[in-house]
Amino acid sequence: MVISPIHYIFVPLVAAFAIPLLSKLNKELPRIIPGIVLFYNIIISFVLMQEVNEVGYISEVIAGWRAPIGINLIITPFSGFLVSLISVLGFLIWLYGFRFKKVIDDGELRSYNILQMMMITGAIGIIITGDIFNLFVFLEIVAITAVSLTSFYRGRDGAEAGFKYLLIGGFASAMILLAILILYTQVGTLNMAEIAERMHTVPTGIKSTILILFIVGFGIEAELFPLNGWAPDAYSQAPGPTSTAFAGIVVKAGVYGLIRIIFTLFDIEGAYDFLIIAGLITMIIAEAAALKQTNLKRMLAYSSIGQMGLALIAFGIGTKEAVFAAMFLLLNHAIIKSLLFMTGSILMYNSKEKTISSLHGIAKRLPFISILFAIGAFAIVGLPPFSGFWSKLYILSAAADKEMIFLIVTILAVSVIEIIYYFRVVSKLYFAEGTTNVEVYKPKINAKISMLILGIAIFVIGFYPDLVTGYLHNAADILLDKASYIQYVLNTDSTIQ
């Protein structure tokens, strides 16, 4: 059995269905099995990335039916890059979350592990599927697991945040379903490549209706303004590893969905301008909201929304250089924001209100975690030796190439706001007088390792950006080359039945 994209789906499924039985054998198994599965994902990614670098596309058909008839899974350099990122992050999040909370009962432990693993699988599924309805199914897997995990703790207002998320998410999925329905009546197929090929036959009025419905649906997962009301609540109420997964993994899947729809499916020029405007509004409002937050996790959540806005702006500029910069930003955001959420959750571990003021002088007691948090904060605002600097620089230069002065000014102004609120937290960590007598939580060695890996990654990419830029340039080229995608999916002769 050679390694192929379907391994991303069925290995976690086997594990998920088997965990309820295996947990009867040994109480530790539900904790350990997801780790093995997520590590296997990294192996799959490694093998597939080498392959995709040589051939450009990997396509796999399900049940032996060629592309438009059956469902196909497709890995391009762009989706391969995102999937590898998610696999590595997923494993690190598992490592970090291993024994994170004292979950006493094995029933709770079992559900938590299954849900966390399946959320990552759902996000991977969104990215690798080549069929629009299958994408919807994976989106629902993510939505259901995310809601259940948000309301996992009973001591907090988790149920409230979860209900809010579920309501908005249910509305989003209804809109996507409606969009798929109208699209199907127009093109008579559900395969994304074939839809893209036939899109020019659709009347403009209907086309824009479909696009609006899709944007409303995916905008909710991608945290587009004004559809992101669920995000800060869900981030702040979910368990630490889960909010890390929200920032690092779920949002990426949502952005991917939006980009796939706009770049591959539709050929409307105005959609790019829409991305810029929506991204701009999202970024400005989110960063302004982040400035006045008192809860650390809410602040990080708003900052995450702002960064996604920036990524959408870069995608919306639409040149090769800009798309490359946007991907670089996604990579950096995944690494840095995950590190911030991981360290933030530990700094806040025993604090009741989870406010920034409870961080006063905590650096003396948790020096290792605090230095990692500071590195993350410096990196995300884009200070030079760290990795965040490069992505911001590339976005600005891409905007400069198209002479979008207003955009450059806004991005720089927003960066100043970012610097203000991140530095406020860091200075509280180090220089404020210690007033809290909350007992600090000492992280276990596994959590430390996983945070250290992310911290090192920030430096490595910061000093040697060339490690990834070559690959990302290639990925950007292929994302913009719609014709070869269609050609490849619809004319793979090895799979004809």
Binding site: F133, V137, E140, A143, I144, V147, S148, S151, R154, D157, A159, E160, A161, G162, F163, K164, L166, L167, G169, G170, F171, S173, A174, L177, L178, I180, L181, Y184, T185, L190, D233, Q237
Partner: protein, 131 residues
Amino acid sequence: MQEQFNEIFIKYHEIITIGVYGTAIALMLIGLYAILMKKNLVKIVIGLTILDAGIHLLFVGIGYIQNGTAPIFSPGYENSADRMVDPVPQALVLTAIIIGFAVTAVALSLVIRLYKHHNTAKIDQIKHLKW
């Protein structure tokens, strides 16, 4: 019988169209109204299911073909492939219904949790997080 039906279909085509699409769209709007206006959590969940029901009805509606039969090759229908209704929306709606059910179940469990925690199911009294 079939011809009679056909005649009626052509004669009242517009009314039937409005009946099918209109009902579906009306259901969707009723569902949205309930989600946006109702204060009771259970009613909001019911609104969500009504919204879903409207969309499911549309799915089945667009698959219909005039003078069509069910897409099943039962004895006696082996050669009628060209007058069968579109099977794809029917297959999709099956998936959509099950997913809708799963979402509703999770929503109701959250309502139970919220009710236990706050001792009320009124949305305006549950405001620990900003709505």
